[in-house]
């Protein structure tokens, strides 16, 4: 074998080796960066507006009641945690995408998937929010009857990211739900029955 042939083989090996090492290092670095980003959970303020993708949301406080915000009595000793908020639709069109905005992390609820939202102005179920019009909205989760009334709650505020062209239809939309931050605040006793049965 000639010297040039040996030299070529060596160069090839060195190139492959350097490339592989670079790929491994890059992937490791990216992984560490992602881990670092995920571990950072911001604590959000209570009573100040929070930008959460489609929504501008202010959390005013939480109470525990035996009636829902539209005035119906809960059955079988159940109670509802009601979080008073103000929500503004920041998008370019009327939206109903508000069920996943707040996630109850603690205490556990019997309505784990979605809370029920009530428009405070009408004392009725919230049907839609118009862009640019701030509304007071009560967000309600039902607690199981056998659970002692909690003294505080932990909420996560969720947000989606705007994509001007989505991957399937090239249409604008909101995707990739993520946590903006968490809030922990005390629960006020609402109508005196919060402690009953607890």
């Amino acid at each position: 074998m000639s010297v040039t042939g040996l030299w070529r083989r060596l160069a090839l090996r060195v190139t492959i080796g350097v490339g592989g090492a670079a790929a491994v290092l890059l992937s490791l670095g990216q992984h560490l960066f992602d881990r670092h980003e995920k571990s950072e959970v911001v604590t959000l303020p209570v009573g100040a507006p929070v930008e959460a993708g489609e929504w501008l949301v202010t959390l005013h406080g939480a109470s525990i009641r035996t009636t829902t915000p539209d005035g119906r009595q809960l059955r079988n000793g159940q109670r509802a945690i009601i979080v008073a908020t103000e929500m503004t639709n920041r998008t370019g069109s009327t939206s109903t995408d508000f069920y996943s905005l707040l996630r109850l992390d603690a205490p556990p609820s019997t309505s784990p998937l979605r809370p029920t939202l009530y428009l405070a102005r009408d004392k009725e179920l919230l049907t839609q929010l118009q862009p640019g019009l701030a509304e007071s909205v009560d967000v309600a989760w039902i607690l199981p009857a056998d659970q002692p009334p909690p003294a505080s709650l932990t909420l996560s505020v969720m947000a989606k990211t705007f994509k001007p062209r989505d991957n399937l239809y090239a249409a604008p939309g909101w995707f990739n739900e993520h946590v903006v931050g968490t809030v922990n605040f005390p629960i006020e006793r609402g109508d005196g029955n919060g402690t009953a049965g607890g």
Partner: protein, 191 residues
């Protein structure tokens, strides 16, 4: 050398042309979007399966109507815009699922669901050919959305490859007086 340069130049030109084509091709959502049929308030605008004519637009801070045996009152931090409309199916029975208000900046306000149950609404009402129906479109808007607005009316809520009537509203809406309260039932009966 000369040949190499020619090849490189033609390759670069090809890349530029293809990039241009790629960037200027409208997306799938645009290509399959609504087919507009434009018109002005006061005239009859024809879409594929229906015609719509917008009359007067009334503005109010609060609305009142009777539904389910009681009087419902609705207030707003913005303003309620109530448009009088005459709609009619043309070829076969249909209903209007998409009624929206688009402001000058392109922000779209859907027909308000807060007045559900009012008798005079046309949203979702069954329309028959040859039987024009008069009724109301109700929107809840910030004051700023009144300027050079238009109404978007279609059979489905989000029309795809189907016609959408786009009706330009009068430009003087922002200067008009806003009444304290408006009774939807009386307003619909009055015309």
């Amino acid at each position: 050398m000369r040949r190499l340069l020619t090849n490189a130049a033609s390759l670069a030109l090809g890349v530029i042309v293809l990039a241009g084509l790629r960037w200027t091709t409208p997306g799938y959502a645009v290509l399959t979007g609504p087919l507009p049929s434009d018109g002005r308030a006061g005239t009859t605008v024809a879409a594929r399966g229906f015609t719509v004519r917008i009359g007067d637009v009334e503005l109010a801070k609060s609305l009142r109507y009777r539904a389910f045996g009681r009087t419902v009152e609705r207030t707003s931090d913005g303003v309620f815009a109530v448009a009088h409309a005459t709609v009619e199916a043309t070829a076969q029975s249909t209903s209007l699922g998409g009624i929206a208000w688009e402001d000058a900046g392109g922000i779209v306000f859907a027909h308000s669901r807060r007045v559900d149950g009012a008798g005079a609404l046309l949203l979702g009402k069954r329309l028959q050919p040859g039987l024009p129906q008069q009724g109301l479109f109700v929107f809840e808007l910030p004051r700023g959305a009144l300027k050079s607005a238009r109404l978007l009316v279609s059979e489905s809520a989000e029309p795809r490859l189907d016609s959408q009537a786009r009706i330009r509203l009068p430009d003087d809406l922002q200067g008009r007086a806003v009444s304290e309260g408006l009774d939807l039932d009386e307003s619909a009966r009055a015309r």
